[in-house]
Amino acid sequence: MAFLYENEGTTRTLLHQVLEMHPLSSPISTNNRSRSCTESLFASSDTTLRKRKKTAPVQPKDTGGTDQHFVEHYDLLEKGTPRILLKKILQTASEDSVLVPVLMNSQEPVPVELQEESKWNSLELQLPEPEPSASLAPELLIHSRRKRCLRVSEFEQEVDQGLAVSSDLTGEKRASANKSSMSRSFNLTLATVIPPESVERPGLARRPQIRKKVDMEAFEHGLKDIPLTLLSDRCSNHSTTPVDGARSFQSSPYSLRFRKSLTKDQQPRATTYQANQRKKGPRRAIKSWPKSPLQNQPPSANSMSIRRQARPWTGRPSQNSYLSAYSVLATSNISREAVAKSDVVYQGEEEEERLMVDQAEESEEDTETPQRAVVSELSMKTPEFLQAKRHRSFSQPASLAPPNIVLLPSKLTQAKCAPKRCATGPRQPRDPDKASLDHYCKVFSYYAKMPVEKSASKTLVKCLDQYFRTLCDDLETFAHHAGRKTVLLDDLELLMRRQGLVTDEVSLYVLVERHLPLEYRRLLIPCAASGNSVFPAG
């Protein structure tokens, strides 16, 4: 039986040997042979193997026993069909494909094999080899192959689950190439070797769902870990900095501290973030931001910032707020907005290329103090988020593509709430926003009368976001100046006048008539109607 000990033999040769050794006609002889085969083939330290080995020596004692032989014979008879399958395998599968998946197969069949160990006592060929080794590869292949043939339905299910898990693992951790290649090759081999069973298997359909779930969970963990630490850092950093309205003060220390905090360890942030999260409810929106800016290069970061800005965050990157963030733990809404602002600010500070940030900084002068206080708290959060996002991006670089940036914020927002929702959640907030922004992109391209690049549209979205932010701030300032809490038409007209759109020659109504469709014109311009009434109400 020297050939049995040859680990270098190819799987095919081994399979052939195995098949030759186990003819259907002689159960008793095959039992003996199988036992010897098992003993020789089992080189692994697996417990199941050991068990088998134990059973193997036990069996010789009962050579005269009829029951065992009958069982073995029965098993051997059952082997007939797997035998046929094995032959099929040899015929169809190529050697290359055979070898690779062995490692994966050996891992996955382990649970199945363990369960059915009692059944297959006589089947030495089962080999749950968790440790893939080159020397054991051919043997493993044989064992796994046999296993697959023998318990197709159960094995397939297990394999599918294992595959899903392994695929998730590979997707998540970028695990060793072995696993990924094995899983891939495993899929391939399964498909080629057992066509009828693959039809029954819905494995591939199942996989993406599981993958998403795992990703979300990991993401949540990452998020939880990172922000907590960030908060603690912030507290330590900014405990002594007073809320200062001076922009210069804000800019320099802010940037310095921000950079310092970013470079610091992220673990304390995670803890602080968690603490903050417990205090404040919905800060999901913040999550989305940190990820995008930190991870990517300036252009992608720009696009990301655009997306972030797409969310209507208060456009007040108040550095002051950032400095004094700690003391204020405002309501979640305000904090969210502040984080958005601070996030935006961070982006500008970091990159120092974006004109948006410059303009945002300029607009900081207009920020009101109460907002600043609120924003400070949020700005605290943003670096955490940024850190969290950074980690997240590392784990999932693929998801950082610019078009998915919008998706990220929504995903992050819901990550804490329910991981499952992340798969479908981002859709709803993203689509209407994107639709409107695309609408504005089209308007722009129409006005420009020239083709616009795809990347340019992202810049456009960023500009639009910035514009919206300043617009809202201005409107609020005007309303507040008038002692009102409601924005009226007069505020908008004043804004347009200040913008230079409405002049003494050009009145607001002229613009309305020029650019808006008829239905809107009727609503906006008070027209005299019959019966001494004016529509709309003056």
Partner: protein, 84 residues
């Protein structure tokens, strides 16, 4: 051009989107019914000015396609103008 104009002008102003945007930024503000239309008008005019400026920038660079840098440099000017 006429078809494009008709297409552009026929589009409704995304009133819900605008309202949501502003509410998110300033939840404490109340808005009149016709205001989001004027905001939309403001956006259109802003885009108009931006497009003009971007087109000029592209012409200066002798390129027939609008690129990011054109928009960036144009936005710098226009945003400053629309600060009010």
């Amino acid at each position: 051009m006429a078809a494009a104009a008709a297409r552009v002008l026929k589009r409704k102003a995304p009133r819900g989107f605008l309202k949501r945007l502003i509410k998110r930024q300033k939840p404490q503000l109340h808005f009149r019914s016709g205001l989001d239309l004027l905001v939309h008008l403001n956006c259109l005019l802003f885009l108009h000015r931006l497009a003009e400026e971007t087109r000029m920038q592209a012409f200066q660079n002798k390129s027939k396609i609008i690129k990011e840098k054109h928009i960036c440099s144009a936005a710098k000017v226009i945003l400053k103008k629309s600060r009010g």
